[in-house]
Each structure stands twice: as structure tokens, then as C-alpha cells.
């Protein structure tokens, strides 16, 4: 569904963030990208929907080269790819509902959205997305009044509004505590399995990677240094992990099902 070919990104200041990165993503995968801070994970994910312009290489999305797309076509590609962020990137002063509705912008007539209009269907869809995320009752709060975990669910609900075929998640749990990390990733996994939405996610912690990945790619200084299946990484010891990953690798000591016990943060639906 997505294949990255010889991707290179050199920033204006000369930083080589990606050096000849190539890999494929298949339908329904939960592909996790691991790598040290500064290894180029965020750059890679943002190149896929061209939030960052790649310097060289190709990004083939369902047979079409995204790097060649004009702005109309690019927007069409973008709306098929949902994105969630480490810092949630919600419009803090807008309501939760409005944040979620923003996920429909790619489908909305630009003129209508000028006057702040969404169709009734969109609004119902937004409530449904919030209900699935278990935060329906928060719909009319301001986004910044929510807890971190709730905000990330708003972020996921916004991505789901795009009816995406794939979700890009840039360290979606890095600013959450470990327990919440499992609830959020569990929710992503559920979406991945139930809705058959491919997930491409960057993560830091070996525990989480082992628990959720169907495939893993390791980045180091902008280069792919590891490729392995979910089984491969589950067999991996800390030492091996550290070797490919670097010194900073850490384990989170939280059981994978502890999410079920946490009050108020349980995902329903």
C-alpha cells in the first residue's frame, strides 16, 4: 500500500535527517519505527504526507508517487492518511467537537468551511468517533481542559474522521505515563484490527514495541539499521535491542493489560 524508495531528507541547515531510506508497508500492518532521539523518525513520518518536503526519493501510495502530486492531489492523499502526534496538536482553545470535526476538512467544501459549517452527517460522525474513544461527554469542553490521555483520544478521533486507510503516529504516547501508553496503543491496535487501518507508529520503549508491533524498522542517524517481524522482536533480549537501538533504550515496567484496571481511562466500543 505504501512503499518508500531511497528517501533522502536534507534540511536547509545541512542536517541529513534521512539517508536513503527504503521500506514497504503492507495493508493491515502495525509497523513500528524505533530509533534514538534525533534518528529521523519524525522526519520520516512527516515526509510520507509531505508535511516536510523530501529532498530525494519516492513515496508510492497505492501506486501513485506522492512526491510528484500537485496540491489538489496531495490533499486527497493526505485525507486518506490520518496523523496523530506526540503533543496531540489540538487547537487548544477550540472545543473538543470542533477539533474532531477538523478531521473532515479534507472532505468539506472549502467555501462552506469558511463560514464554519459542517454537515449534520459530519457532526453525527464526530459524536460517534468521540463515543468510540470514550470521551463523548467531553465534546463541548475546551480541548486544553482535557487530560493528556483524553487529548490524545481526541487526536485519534480527529484522524478517524478522515476515514483513513493508514494512520501515522509520531510517538503517540511519549508524553503520557506508561499506563496511559497502553490504553492509547491498545486503542490504536483495536482500530488497526477492527477497521483494518494500517498503523505506522514511532515508539521509544521496547516493552511497547514487543507488545504491539507486527513489524519493526530500526532507524539510526537517518539510516535503516534493523528490519524484523513481530516475532523477531519479541524474542529479542535487552542487549540485542540496545545494540540496534543505542544506549538510551529503556523498558517500561507495566503489564500490557493493566489498562483494564485504570479507572476512567478505559476504552469502550
Amino acid at each position: 500500500m505504501l512503499s518508500i524508495k531511497n528517501l533522502v531528507k536534507i534540511y536547509d541547515d545541512g542536517t541529513e535527517a534521512l539517508k536513503d531510506v527504503s521500506f514497504d508497508v503492507d495493508d493491515g500492518e502495525f509497523l513500528i519505527i524505533i530509533g534514538l532521539s534525533g534518528s529521523g523518525k519524525s522526519t520520516l513520518l512527516r515526509c510520507i504526507n509531505r508535511l516536510i518536503e523530501p529532498t530525494e526519493g519516492q513515496i508510492i501510495w497505492n501506486g501513485e508517487d506522492v512526491t510528484e502530486a500537485d496540491s489538489n492531489h496531495l490533499r486527497e492523499v493526505r485525507r486518506q492518511i490520518g496523523m496523530i502526534f506526540q503533543h496531540f496538536n489540538l487547537v487548544k482553545r477550540s472545543s473538543v467537537l470542533k477539533n474532531v470535526l477538523a478531521g473532515r476538512l479534507g472532505y468539506t467544501n472549502p467555501m462552506l468551511s469558511l463560514i464554519n459549517r459542517f454537515s449534520q452527517a459530519d457532526i453525527e460522525m464526530a459524536y460517534e468517533a468521540l463515543r468510540r474513544a470514550g470521551i463523548e461527554d467531553q465534546a463541548h469542553k475546551r480541548a486544553d481542559e482535557l487530560s493528556g490521555g483524553q487529548q490524545q483520544r481526541v487526536g485519534i478521533a480527529r484522524a478517524l474522521m478522515q476515514n483513513p486507510k493508514m494512520i501515522l503516529a509520531d510517538e503517540p504516547v511519549a508524553s503520557l505515563d506508561p499506563v496511559l501508553a497502553h490504553t492509547i496503543l491498545g486503542y490504536l491496535e483495536k482500530i488497526n484490527k477492527e477497521d483494518n487501518i494500517t498503523v505506522l507508529c514511532s515508539l521509544h520503549y521496547l516493552d511497547l514495541v514487543q507488545r504491539y508491533a507486527t513489524r519493526v524498522i530500526g532507524l539510526r542517524n537517518g539510516k535503516v539499521v534493523y528490519r524484523g517481524s513481530g516475532e523477531d522482536i519479541r524474542k529479542m533480549t535487552d542487549e540485542e535491542f540496545k545494540q540496534i537501538y543505542g544506549e538510551e533504550a529503556e523498558r517500561v515496567r507495566v503489564g500490557p493489560d493493566s489498562s483494564e484496571d485504570v479507572d476512567g481511562e478505559k476504552i469502550n466500543g
Binding site: F85, R104, P110
Partner: protein, 520 residues
């Protein structure tokens, strides 16, 4: 061994932290006696020689400037004297406390500075702050004199300010008047006597009437030594006036000048009895009649009762204050509106994150910033002075001044709001496949609105406040009448204006903080 060193080190560190004033002396080969001597010759020189350069320059600079200012003040006090010594003596006799304090202060400081240079060289640890306390003390004495500070005046003059202050604080007597009914009667008096005195007034049972006894006499006058010789005492009998009412006695001279009689420094008045009658004695006043006036010098004495009837009348100062206050508020509002409209485009040019793209835009950014900062640093009152020259006295000049200042101030605030915008939502909205315009509407505008509103209201608040004083320099609004009333010593009318300013500003304060609290 190594441990010991470590311990020592930590000890030293602890000591250092305990008292930052205790600092080790610098390394130098100049002996302490020499550095002291050098600083005695020229303040600070010894310090500089032993490597205490900053301290040396500060001491030199302060002692040198103290002496200069001291000489300046002595010259001001005794500029007629031929030489410095006699000037000093004269100044000493005029302001002994000040001159002595300063003389001793500077000498002490000079000696201390030499001692300081010696001490720093000799002693390892030494409290180095104290000398600067003396420096500040000497400057304080100078400042006291230069500022012409005079608490004695403040206290002794205070009673004089009580009347104006009380009028300003409670000015409402001047705000309203009543319609009044005036009851009066006159009696004629010939002065100086000679010829036929006028006949006594005719009694009429229905009309108020005033009888003077006698109907001729001498006015008070001044002798060669300007001592007052009292005139003839006249007995006044009044009848048919309003009972139990204060009655003022007025004097009307032959050329028609009218004034209320004063005796022993007080206005003469009497209160009628229950039948409306009174009887009193007055001395004929001192009055200069121009020699050109001819004919019989007939003066009149008049008894007047003024009593309020009917409803209140709003006085001119109150009407004027209201209308000028409205003018003021509109001045502030219009200036704010102009300021907002004009500063929005400017703020984009002054936002670094938007202008960092190329060197052309960066140059525009720097130019805009510089202009904004210059305009902003000049007070609106000064802009008003310029605008008055430009478009003449009146509210328009005030609006121009406030608008100018608002553009600069708002541009700065707005551009800072633009700079501090969170890029996260922008990329998130872009990632949904939104257009450029949609991204601005959904990610940028929501972030901009609260600071824009908040800063605009803040500015409106400032502008209305400023417009109350901008009239002081001719920029229209309530300040314009305020300064006039103060110059005319009409403290009640000024007080009304002050009250309106205070009420408006307080209300505005409340409203604007309330709006901001709700929006932001």
C-alpha cells in the same frame, strides 16, 4: 591526601556561598601602602594598579562626579561671589547642613577609598560592600538638594491646600444650583455730607423696606500712614423681609459698583426675626470714587435675601464635564479602532516567524521593528503636542496622537502573538488534507483571536485613560477643560472633571478586565 584537598575545596565553596561579599584579593606585586597612597592621590588609581579595575573606575567616577556636582550646587547657591572659597563660605552660611554633610561625606569617602585600596591588597578576605553604601549616601544628599526636596514646606503649606483639595474631593456644590428668589430693599446715603441728605425711605406695609439712620455721613478713608479711619456708623432697620432668613448687606457706590460689605474681615449679614425685621449697625466702607464723577455722591446700602425656590438647575461645569467625557471616551475608542485596523498589517511585517524567509523580508522586519519601537517610546502626550501643531487644538489632534501610539504598541503585541503561535495544530490540520485557507481558519485564527481581543481591549483601556490627560496639551477631551479650570483656580469645576475621569476609568477598568476574563 586527595580527600583532604576535596574537603578543603568544599569548605571554601561553602564559605563563598555563605557570604558573596567575602572575595579573595587579586594577585599583584604592588605593595598595599603604595596602592593606598595612589588612591589617596587620585581616587581609584590604587585599585586599578592592583588589578581592581572595575572598582577603581567606579570609585573614581563617583568621587569625581560628586565633586563636580558639589561645585555646581555651591555656584547656584552663591553665584555672586567672586571666587570659589567665598562661594563656599556663602553657601555654607545659606545651607549649613547640606554643605557640611557633603564636605564631610566626600572627604570621608576619599579617605576610605585610599584605605580600601590598602585593605584589599593586604587582607585576604574583606567585606567590600560598605564603601558603596557611603557612595550611595553621598549621592543621596546631593539628590536631596538637587531635587529641592523640602518636607518642611510640604507640612507648613499643607493647610493652604485643604480648601482646594476639599473642593476637588467634593465639588458638587458647583454642579447644581437652585432657582432663587431675591428679596431686597435699598436706602440712599449721601457721602460726604453737605447739601441736602436724601430723604429716608418710605415705609410700605407690603414691601420690604430698609431705613438708614443717618442718611449722610463719611466713608472710611486712609490717613497719610495708610491707617484706616472708620467712617460714620449707620443704623439699618429692615422690615417686611422674609422671616428667619439670612440677609446680606451690600453697598452700591455712585458709579454703580456693587460689593458685599465686609467688616472685621467678614461679610456682613444678619438673620431676620420671626416678623421679618432686623436692626443693625454698619460702618460706611472705604471706597475710592474716581475724581471725574460729578454730582451728588449718593451711595446706596442694600439688604438682600436670596432663597432657593423650585427645582435644581444643572450648572455649566457639570454639563461641560459630561459632554467632554463623552468626547473623551469616543476619542479613545476611535483611536483604538484606527490603531487596531492599521496595526494588523504592520504586525505581520513585524512578526519574525513570518518574515524570516528571505533577507529582503528580514530587512523589512528589522525596519518595521525599529520604527515601531521608536514611535512606542515617545509618549502619547508628546505626539499630541506635535499633532496640535499639525491639525490644531481639539479632539482630532488627540485622536491622531493616540492612534500613532496605538499602532506601534498594538503592532508589537500582535506580532508577538503571531510569533508565539503553536505550529502543532497547523501541521495537524494540514495533515487532514485541508486547504491553505482552511488551515489558517482552523489552526491559526483560533489561536490568534484571544490575544487579539485581549490586547485590543487592553489598548482601548489605555487609550481612554490617556485621552483624559491628552487634553492637558490641547488634544481635546475632558483634560482640556480640566487644565483650564485649574488655571482659573476653579477647583470645584475641576473637581467635577476629576470625578468624571475617576469614575470612567474605574468603570472601564472593571469592564475591560471582565471582558478579558471571559474571552481569554
Amino acid at each position: 591526601m586527595a580527600k583532604e584537598v576535596e574537603q578543603k575545596n568544599t569548605k571554601a565553596k561553602r564559605k563563598k556561598r555563605k557570604n558573596p561579599a567575602l572575595i579573595k584579593k587579586p594577585e599583584s606585586r604592588v605593595p598595599g601602602e603604595l596602592s593606598g597612597l595612589l588612591s589617596l592621590l587620585i581616587p581609584g588609581l590604587g585599585h586599578i594598579v592592583i588589578g581592581e579595575i572595575g572598582r577603581g573606575f567606579i570609585l573614581f567616577g563617583s568621587i569625581f562626579s560628586m565633586i563636580l556636582m558639589f561645585v555646581w550646587r555651591i555656584e547656584l547657591l552663591a553665584h555672586l561671589e567672586p571666587n570659589l572659597l567665598s562661594m563656599y563660605n556663602k553657601a555654607l552660611s545659606r545651607r549649613p547642613v547640606f554643605i557640611l554633610l557633603l564636605t564631610f561625606g566626600i572627604i570621608l569617602l576619599w579617605l576610605w577609598n585610599a584605605w580600601d585600596a590598602y585593605r584589599i591588597r593586604k587582607k585576604r578576605e574583606y567585606n567590600r560592600i560598605k564603601i558603596f553604601i557611603l557612595v550611595i549616601a553621598v549621592f543621596f544628599v546631593l539628590g536631596w538638594q538637587i531635587g529641592e526636596i523640602n518636607p518642611y514646606k510640604m507640612i507648613t503649606r499643607f493647610p493652604e491646600t485643604l480648601t482646594p483639595i476639599s473642593r476637588v474631593l467634593w465639588p458638587w456644590k458647583a454642579a447644581f444650583t437652585h432657582k432663587t428668589l431675591r428679596v431686597s430693599a435699598k436706602a440712599a446715603i449721601l457721602a460726604p455730607p453737605g447739601g441736602n441728605p436724601p430723604p429716608p425711605s418710605v415705609e410700605n406695609p407690603n414691601k420690604p423696606y430698609l431705613l438708614a439712620e443717618p442718611t449722610s455721613g463719611n466713608l472710611s478713608r486712609l490717613d497719610e500712614n495708610y491707617k484706616m479711619i472708620p467712617g460714620t456708623t449707620i443704623t439699618l432697620t429692615g422690615k417686611n423681609f422674609k422671616p428667619d432668613t439670612k440677609t446680606e448687606i451690600w453697598w452700591i457706590d455712585p458709579i454703580g459698583n456693587k460689593f458685599q460689605l465686609r467688616q472685621n474681615g467678614k461679610y456682613v449679614s444678619v438673620i431676620t426675626d420671626e416678623k421679618g425685621s432686623f436692626k443693625m449697625k454698619v460702618i460706611m466702607p472705604y471706597r475710592l470714587i474716581p475724581p471725574s464723577s460729578k454730582g451728588k455722591m449718593i451711595h446706596h446700602v442694600e439688604a438682600v435675601q436670596v432663597s432657593p425656590v423650585g427645582g435644581v438647575i444643572i450648572n455649566e461645569p457639570l454639563k461641560l464635564a459630561v459632554s467632554r467625557m463623552v468626547e473623551t471616551i469616543f476619542m479613545g475608542m476611535i483611536a483604538t479602532l484606527f490603531g487596531i485596523i492599521l496595526s494588523i498589517p504592520v504586525s505581520f511585517l513585524a512578526a519574525r516567524n513570518l518574515m524570516a524567509g528571505s533577507w529582503v523580508t528580514l530587512i523589512i522586519y528589522y525596519i518595521t521593528r525599529t520604527i515601531i519601537n521608536i514611535i512606542r517610546s515617545i509618549e502619547p502626550l508628546i505626539w499630541a503636542l506635535i499633532a496640535v501643531v499639525w491639525v490644531g487644538l481639539g479632539p482630532f489632534a488627540g485622536i491622531i496622537a493616540l492612534t500613532f501610539h496605538s499602532i506601534a504598541a498594538l503592532s508589537k503585541l500582535y506580532s508577538e502573538a503571531i510569533e508565539s503561535i503553536d505550529p502543532g495544530p497547523i501541521e495537524a490540520i494540514q495533515a487532514t488534507g485541508a486547504t491553505h485557507l482552511q488551515t489558517i481558519l482552523y489552526a491559526v485564527v483560533p489561536q490568534m483571536i484571544p490575544p487579539f481581543i485581549s490586547f485590543s481591549i487592553y489598548r482601548w483601556d489605555i487609550n481612554v485613560r490617556m485621552s483624559t490627560v491628552i487634553g492637558l496639551v490641547g488634544g481635546g477631551g475632558i483634560g482640556f477643560i480640566l487644565v483650564q479650570y485649574i488655571r482659573l483656580l476653579d477647583y470645584r469645576a475641576a473637581g467635577i472633571a476629576v470625578w468624571f475621569i475617576a469614575i470612567t476609568v474605574a468603570l472601564l477598568d472593571y469592564i475591560s478586565s471582565e471582558i478579558r476574563r471571559r474571552i481569554v
